[in-house]
């Protein structure tokens, strides 16, 4: 940050010895984790909840605070901290919008937990949907657990190329 105080002619004279900034580096001194309270993840999150952003891993779009739904892209993923691994069911509450359904037609969604396929469901009509299915206890060995959905067809905007999957209302684990 501190600027060098070399007159330009001196720099010019030393030009032969000058080299560009190096492009190979040794590992730096590693930072220590900052102590403090870690924001806690729950088992289930509604999209209107104030701290929903902590749960979103990818493909869930921003929305105004308090809005009950968030649009997803093609592969939304969220993270959770299941209180226990036994007796948990994965739940996704979402809406397939009529406007997008008109273009995509029926959609098939693959629901996954920690990268393992839990189920694949075809939805033949728009409207509010709930997916819920028991999760094998040994699938919940990672903390946080990542849950994701892969939508086979998404609506693509003709103007800006934006891709919309479903309107997610909530997701996570329930007893």
């Amino acid at each position: 940050m501190k600027p060098a105080r070399l007159p330009l002619p001196v720099v010019l004279l030393l030009a032969a010895g000058c080299s560009r900034a190096p492009d190979i580096y040794a590992p730096p001194i590693e930072r220590r984790p900052i102590e403090g309270a870690t924001p806690d993840l729950g088992e289930f999150i509604q999209m209107r909840a104030p701290h929903v952003s902590h749960y979103l891993v990818r493909d869930v779009l921003n929305a105004p605070a308090g809005q009950i739904y968030r649009w997803t892209n093609q592969q939304p993923a969220l993270r959770f901290h299941p209180r226990r691994s036994a007796g948990r069911r994965l739940r996704f509450d979402f809406v397939i919008a009529g406007a997008t359904f008109e273009e995509t037609g029926p959609v098939t969604i693959a629901f996954q937990v920690n990268g393992r396929l839990l189920d694949t469901v075809r939805y033949d009509a728009p409207g509010e949907k709930r997916f819920e299915k028991a999760v094998p206890a040994d699938w919940l060995d990672a903390d946080p657990a990542i849950v994701s959905a892969e939508i086979d067809k998404v609506w693509v905007s003709k103007t800006d190329g934006a891709r919309l999957g479903v309107m997610l209302l909530g997701a996570g684990f329930v007893p």
């Binding site: 501190k2 330009l8 590693e30 984790p33 870690t38 952003s53 979103l56 891993v57 993923a77």
Partner: protein
Amino acid sequence: MAQVLHILAGAAFTVLFCLALGRLVMDRLSLNLSGAERLLLGFPVGAACLHLIVFLLASVGQARKSVFLGAGVVIFAAAWRFRRNALSGVAVAPLPRIWKAAFLGLFTVFGVVYLVNALAPEHSPDGVTYHLGLVARYARDRGFRRITTNMYANLSQGLEMLYLVAFSVGRHSAATLTHLAFLAWLPLAMLAWARREGFPLAGAAAALFVFLSPVVGRDGAAAYNDVAVAAVLFAVFWLVELWRVRQDDGLLALAGLMAGFAYAAKYTAFLAVPYVLGCVAWRLRGERRRMARAALILGLCSLAMMAPWLAKNALWIGNPFSPFLNAWFPNPYIHVAFEQQYAAFMRTFGDVKDWRAIPFEVTLGGQALGGVVGPLFLLAPVALLALRTPAGRRVLLAAAVFGMVYPANIGTRFLIPALPFVALALAMAVQNTRGALGALVLFHALLSWPGLVSQYCDPAAWRITEIPLQAALRMEPEDRFLTRKVSAYPIARLIEKSVPPRATVFAFSPVAEAYTTRNVPVLYQSAWGEALGDIFKAALFPDLEAKESLRFRFAPRAARKIRVSQTAAGTDIWSVTELRVFRAGKELARGQGWRLRARPNPWDVQLAFDNSPVTRWRSWEAIRPGMFVEVDFGAVETADAVFLDTVPDQYQARWRLEALDPEGRWSVLSDAPETAALALKAGLKRAAMQEFKARGVGYLVLSESDYAWAPVAADPAAWGLAIAGEAGGARLYRID
């Protein structure tokens, strides 16, 4: 009043220095020029030479008042000692008395308005931030220091070199008055050229079209450089015109110097060099030897003016054309992605996506593109009628060449360099229509008067809005005037009072750097600043937190190097927050024998190995196959997994892990990583501020319009920040 005298003395000294130096150069070249030509051309020629002298002084840390004054005295004496008589008997077409009166009257009335505005404390947006911010810095440092956190310091600053001379004597307003001198010069030069060509009325009218134009007046009465660039380009044109008739090598040399100075004054004026070369080549077509000699003279003279700026950037930034062409000259100081975004913005200014909106915006609107040239210029297409005459064709050629770069930056003031030629062509096109020139001048004068401009343009248009006589004479204190005129001024003064001299204040938006001596790098102005912005966002926005872990698992493999490559192309920026190598479930310690490499942006590769959740290596370029982050273990290591912590803002990225085996063969280990979620991290905000401190930043300044204002204001303690003061809608925080 003493301050006003200092200001006037600073500007007068600089202008006289230019005139004397120009006169000396022209006399030594034994040019046969009339008295008016020598007087008028002497100013820009001297300015070009003075800029070079100041550059050299700034390079050796001797850019200070006493040296400037001493050099000035020497040059004044030499100019007197070696003076030559001007060419006499040069025929020029007379200007009718009524036109003479009209020209002088309008020149004087508008000139006084401009003078008062220029004399008032400098308050233009770019003047108080970087034009004079850098000049003030050079004045404090007595020259250049290597600046890597402000892209504006990498632009060519030919005019700023002149401002430095004026500033050293009379401070800010003296620099502004130096720019005003170019504004006063331009119409006189246009008239002089037109009189020699035999159309004095068109010349007088065109000169007034330019001089009275609202954006020209506003710009010329501020510490900008557009009007000076227009003046320099007109000087180039004029010298080429003189050479066309007289074929004098001295004129050719001056044309080359001025073309090079055009580049030195503003990058976008680089077209002066091909313009001169093209004109000379056309004139000498078929005469190969003369053409080669002329090209050599032009090339050497223009290079003399351009080379210092190219060399300064090449040596200090690693890119002679910084802050542009970073993809061609990769460097750690300006990101390629930033340059692309910046260039894209300048092509539309964010709002003007349809070019058909530009004519209205630059003549009548003025809000989106920053000012208006005046409704008169809606008649610009009429200028094409000037194609009927040889002089008209030459003027229109200059307009076309110097206006060619306008689409790259559609701000109204970027039309100014071509405006004198458009104005001349327009006036030449209608000069034979009885009464047309007079009517147009009257129409333009009325619609350019500051009080009337406000009647038709957007209220936010950049223009002269008052005649601040009290402030100009310093009867209204500078501090009060600047507080009411410049929103970024109060915080600059607060920084001056509250921050120790060597501390660094990081700003999310520009402050009036010309009015503080503290170092205030701004987020968007460098790669360094953008990296800090990225760190801040990682702590502020959960969406930009490293939440995803990409896990490559493979059978235990002995390797010298491992490399994570990018296989996709797209518009996303690729990044790796942390790269960890594992064996049997245990992370390998990053030994000091390890060597890290990345392509592109190798300079930030350590950010992927620093164990910080808020820093990341980023490509800072759109993803493309072949990008990589690489670890050279320095010895053979056995590993069975590589984990990457990543931010989920790179949807297009596709990853591949490769290894270099002990025999020196690369092989793909995996291109299908598992995805896992990372646990929430504590203390990201404090971690971000620790990174700021580690980079030498002790303070943070936020304005109400900054995205970070509300979240930081809500809980400064969570960030480890303490409020150090508040002024003018901005708040200064100290990082504890």
